[in-house]
């Protein structure tokens, strides 16, 4: 077929029957199993899958930078170097080159560039941005330091960094997350690669920045006629930029096709599920609406007034505060009994600080937090000591964002769930405690055998269930959930949210739900508070706010939501 005249749309890079194995504990784990895909110039090919689906490993295999101990066991990676419409060379198999050979090094960066998820760790902290962008130019194109600098400024300008003359001499820590990702893209583009591999480049960014970066990649791709391989788990991103879609699971390709066809009419049940799960969010949950129809909301149980929090960032020699950073500038919210209140905002907006102030994990700098107890008496949490807070902490519980760090790896699941119960002076002991733990495991749909095991043997979704079981143990009234779904795969998010809603019905809970993702809030919360720079800019009924946002920032947030 290579003798045929060059077709306009022939692939510049083709992966054929790629197989990668990781030897573990005597057996071999097949991370990538017989994967084939083709990248064409001017086309964005999205590879979609959950964590562990082998999508990143496939991308890394193209550049032969697979993490040890992974081994490429079979297949071909055919690459047409410097292909243009006039000149169409025969493909070369990149797997014939040794990983550290000169030829492979030459291709990396020059012909195939890659950008990563976390721009802070992919940029060297001790070198200036300009030197890092220009490095590939000096290495591959033999430019002098001066020429490279001029070209770097041009590139930074191209990726939309303001004031590139100044930015070129700055260090990565002086850049925001979005600017770092832009600098990474500038680096990747420096030698005019024909293929760009983007491995979840927007996952670590705020939604508004994500949109900007996606637009940037789209524009640059069109102007450079690059083939882009875009790896993501987010169907919203896929529907925004994909021309072609490949769906992967457990190292295998399930489905591949034109983006419009696949999104409209997915063939494989897993693709259907992915799309359905993504569409399920960003609209109110039926479960919740149904529940509210049957039971109306009660009186407010938590009311905060002008809660402020400043962190001391530097002290004088004698321990006097010298510099403070204000994280929260007077937030007033209230939570009604049986209500789900969503706090939405981007990183640094103070939403987590507010949640921790409500629970009094942090000392307040100003303001009050009034909590109405079961007996109807209102108490201000702000001046209480840790001992006085303990009974209240049994009624206001937390589910943390990352279930990997919130469960002590050195305790069994049974011990973890029992911990708040055994600290309760009126709590169950002995066999009653054991029965209660099993009952709690059952409530979060885990088998009783889980109690004897350690957290390391559970998946992310199961761990979050364990964390939920620990939270509901002492029969709480309010649960503060700080991004409980953002560390989970999309397919698991609604599952966990539905679990929380079912528990709300069974146990009569109220939720304060902190998230950066307005789609998740819309699904789960009755009322929403939008935060920016430590202040609440807009509150109201979730549907009202989503339908007609008043504040410009809310409008911006809503416009950045990528719908499937």
């Amino acid at each position: 077929m290579y003798d045929q005249p060059p077709a306009l749309n022939a692939p510049v890079l083709e992966v054929r029957n790629l197989t990668i194995e990781f030897p573990t504990h005597g057996e071999r784990f097949r991370a990538v199993d017989d994967v084939s895909l083709a990248l064409r110039p001017g086309e964005t090919h999205c590879v979609v899958g959950e964590s562990g689906s082998g999508k990143s490993v496939t991308a890394r295999a193209i550049l032969q930078i697979v993490d040890k101990p992974g081994e490429i066991c079979g297949g071909e990676i055919l690459f047409r170097r410097r292909a243009t419409q006039a000149h169409f060379p025969d493909p070369i198999d990149l797997l014939r080159y040794r990983a550290n050979s000169g030829a492979m090094r030459d291709i990396r960066g020059k012909d195939i560039a890659m950008i990563f998820q976390e721009p802070m760790t992919s940029l060297s902290p001790v070198h200036r941005i300009g030197d890092q962008v220009g490095e590939a130019l000096r290495l591959h194109e033999g430019l002098t330091r001066r020429q490279a600098r001029l070209r770097s400024i041009e590139l930074l300008n191209q990726v939309g960094i303001r004031d590139p003359d100044r930015a070129v001499d700055q260090f990565p820590f002086e850049f925001s997350g979005g600017m770092r990702q832009r600098a990474m893209i500038a680096m990747a583009l420096s030698c005019n690669p024909s293929v760009l591999i983007a491995d979840e480049p927007t996952t670590a960014l705020d939604v508004t920045i994500q949109l900007e970066i996606l637009e940037l990649i789209k524009t640059l791709q069109a102007s450079h006629r690059m083939a882009v391989m875009f790896i993501t788990h987010d169907m919203g991103v896929v529907s925004h930029i994909a021309d072609k879609i490949t769906v992967m699971r457990n190292g295998r390709v399930l489905e591949t096709g034109e983006a419009s066809d696949t999104l409209r009419d997915p063939q494989h049940p897993y693709t259907q599920e992915l799309i359905q799960k993504a569409q399920e969010l960003d609209r109110p949950s039926d479960l919740r609406l149904d529940m509210r129809g049957r039971r109306s909301l009660g009186p407010p149980i938590i009311t905060t007034r002008d809660v402020g929090k400043a962190f001391v960032t530097s002290r004088t020699f004698l321990g006097q505060p010298r510099e403070v950073s204000v994280a929260l500038k007077g937030a007033s919210i209230h939570l009604k009994e049986g209500e789900n209140l969503g706090i939405v905002g981007e990183s640094g907006s103070g939403k987590t600080t507010l949640a921790r102030c409500i629970q009094r994990v942090y000392e307040l700098s100003s303001g009050t937090v009034d909590y109405v107890g079961r007996d109807g008496a209102s108490v201000d949490l702000a001046p209480l000591s840790e001992t006085e807070l303990r009974p209240i902490w049994r009624e206001i519980r937390t589910v943390f964002q990352d279930p990997h760090s919130s469960l002590n790896p050195r305790m069994t699941v049974g011990e973890i769930i029992a911990e708040p119960l055994r600290n309760d002076p009126n709590g169950p002991t002995g066999p009653a405690l054991r029965d209660r733990v099993i009952e709690l495991l059952d409530l979060v749909e885990l088998p009783a055998t889980a109690a004897a095991r350690y957290p390391h043997s559970f998946s992310g979704g199961q761990r979050q269930r364990i964390a939920i079981a620990r939270a509901i143990g002492p029969n709480p009234r309010v649960i503060l959930a700080d991004e409980p779904t953002s560390a989970l795969d999309v397919a698991l998010r609604t599952t966990v949210l539905n679990l929380l809603l079912r528990l709300q019905e069974q146990l009569g809970l109220s939720f304060i739900f902190v998230s950066h993702d307005i789609a998740v809030i819309r699904y789960f919360c009755d009322r929403i508070a939008v935060m920016k720079d430590g202040m609440i800019v807009e509150t109201g009924d979730t549907e009202t706010v989503c339908a007609s946002p008043q504040h410009p920032y809310t409008q911006l947030l809503l416009s950045a939501v990528l719908r499937v």
Binding site: H25, G319, Q359, V361, E386, R390, P391, W393, R394, R397, T398, F400, D402, H404, S405, S406, L407, N408, P409, R410, M411, T412, E419, P420, N423, D424, E445, L446, P447, T449, A450, A452, R453, Y454, H456, S457, F458, S459, G461, Q462, R465, A467, R470, A491, L492, T495, N498
Partner: protein, 386 residues
């Protein structure tokens, strides 16, 4: 809706025993599993165990009384232990023995020289009776691992020193003091380091600043002049045992700073860890947070720090005794033995006097290999989650 609890094969009843096993494995088991893969570390661990075994049964393993001197065997060179005994008639038998050497004096210079004496063989046997001793100062015994068949005979597998004492026996006897001074010294600095480091890391603020300044001052002190000063302050008439304890105290006074820093660092990073905050919110008391939630996470790191601190202690003791500031004769430690090998005359007359130095090398290397392996295995959760 897919139930998340069914997508994990290990939760199913028919899961392989291996996976079930790993699921309920405690941190120590996980540590052992990953430590076992580190071959060099396992080897180092075995060597360390052997050294401590020798230290524990030093009197039994040493062929002779390390203090017994003999003017007829001054600087006696090492002899080889042979197993196959060929008789006059050409027949052979397995009979362990060494070939005797005799002292001849150069008629002109009167220098003492040892020449092989083909006539005499000194037969030895395992578990034979030799010099009487008291094991651990409690049990009177006569048996040695290797002993001459004829009670009066002497042999020198590692040669003899300037008083004709058996270097092998002395090196083995020295193992006890040198290896234990590391353990006792580290145990002492661990207590100080754990308390001060823990307080510093958990409470923070001014206490932390104060303790940190103290540590910095301790580290800034030049060690050798400090040792010299403290050793000079020791009364010369102290017994061997008192002196030994004084030396361990001196060593651990300098050694605790490193451990305190390790403990403080771990406390600082764990204090803000989600699961510690979660424990606080679970209503757990401060003592329980420290001992039930934080300590187990630190323990493995402490073991690592200890296994790397012991060789430093051994080296410090050796250096101190070598300089004549630490343990003094009649106490026997590797450093005190090397003190004998300080002058040119000893090096020329008996290079085998350096044997304790080789043991120091082996011990320190073994501890470092072991510590390296432990450090890699110390946080088993970092690898399991991959």
């Amino acid at each position: 809706m897919a139930n998340a609890s069914t997508d994990d094969p290990t939760l199913a009843p028919g899961a392989p025993a291996d996976a079930q096993d790993l699921a309920t494995a405690s941190q120590w088991r996980l540590m052992w599993l990953s430590f076992r893969k580190h071959r060099l570390a396992v080897f180092g661990g075995v060597v360390v165990l052997i050294l401590y075994f020798i230290a524990a049964f030093a009197e039994f393993i040493a062929p002779f009384d390390p203090h017994k001197f003999n003017s007829r065997s001054v600087y006696h060179p090492p002899q080889m232990l042979r197993f196959v005994d060929v008789g006059e008639d050409g027949g052979w038998a397995i009979r362990p023995h060494v070939r005797a050497m005799k002292l001849v004096r150069d008629p002109e210079t009167l220098a003492a020289n040892y020449e092989p004496d083909p006539e005499t063989k000194i037969y030895v046997r395992f578990f034979g009776k030799g010099d009487p001793y008291e094991l651990w100062g409690l049990f009177p015994m006569e048996r040695h691992l290797i002993a001459p068949v004829n009670a009066g005979d002497r042999f020198f597998l590692l040669g003899a020193d300037r008083l004709g004492r058996d270097v092998l026996s002395r090196t083995i006897a020295g193992t006890r003091l040198s290896m234990s001074i590391g353990l006792v010294g580290v145990a002492l600095s661990l207590v100080i380091g754990l308390i001060l480091g823990g307080v510093s890391g958990y409470f923070g603020g001014r206490i932390d600043a104060l303790i940190q300044r103290v540590i910095e001052v301790m580290i800034a002190l030049p060690t050798i002049p400090l040792w010299m000063g403290l050793s000079a302050a020791m009364p010369a008439d102290w017994s061997v045992v008192t002196r030994y304890f004084a030396i361990t105290v001196i060593l651990s006074l300098v050694g605790w700073t490193e451990l305190a820093r390790v403990v403080r660092g771990r406390f600082l990073s764990l204090r803000t860890e989600d699961f510690v905050v979660a424990a606080r919110l679970d209503g757990t008391s401060q003592t329980r947070v420290i001992f039930r939630h934080i300590m187990p996470s630190i323990f493995s790191h402490i073991i690592t720090a200890v296994s790397l601190a012991i060789p430093a202690m051994i080296l410090a003791e050796t250096a101190l005794s070598f300089l004549g500031l630490g343990l003094l004769p009649p106490a026997i430690s590797w450093g005190a033995l090397l003190f004998e090998a300080q002058n040119i005359r000893s090096i020329v007359a008996g290079p085998w006097l350096f044997a304790p130095g080789i043991l120091v090398l082996i011990a320190v290397l073994a501890f470092n290999f072991l510590g390296d392996g432990l450090r890699d295995a110390a946080d088993p959760y970092a690898t399991v989650e991959r």
